[in-house]
Amino acid sequence: MTTEMRDKVTTRGKWMPSWRSEGNEPDYRFSLANERTFLAWIRTALAVLAGSVILEQFATHISPRWALVLIAVALCSASGLLCVLAYYRWRDNELAMRNSAPLPHNYGIALLAIFAVLAAAILACLLPFAG
């Protein structure tokens, strides 16, 4: 990317938070990769949400009902958390790239893994007793 191209790269939109003028504009390919990762996290959150709704709506034969609803509630909460996490992860990575700092650690992966394992384990315990 030439220097004049780098100077011309701006972001669209009228609202720009203050951190946007920090540091140097990163290589556009890294910004695009960051954006795709953000969208991937949003998709993950929405997929967990869909799974939770499907579980609550369609798994009518699993008892006790309250355990199932509890899992669904936990999954929904996880999905909401992931949405918030997605934005802050995108923002922190943009900042790190601008200031040539190392990319910050992302806790969303651990959170997601823990939730998935717990939900699967509880469901595995409930399934043999399904009516």
């Binding site: 939109g13 556009y28 954006e35 929405l46 009902r65 609803v69 999905s79 918030v84």
Partner: protein, 106 residues
Amino acid sequence: MISRADQGLQPQRTALAWRRTALTFLVNAVLFLRAGLLSRDTWIASMGVVALLAGALTVIYGLRRESRFRHGSVDAIVVSPAVVVAVSIGALAICLTGLCLVMRSL
């Protein structure tokens, strides 16, 4: 101008990512619409419609950016933070609706 090697790759991958995201909005929209219509809950059903609109908006935004990439428009490369915030808030709203939907049976 974006180099020819990158022209087909990065922008296209980004556009595809937007389309996949739109699809997940639509899947959740269908789920909410079904649940809302079955239980005659107007709020859940209307959130389904909102999710549908979110999906449509996402598709449109992806297409717009893809066409801007194709014309080598340098100033359209980086996504605006406002859009990122809007997508996060929209997805969060849908997650909260899902939470209410799931908690109804408690």
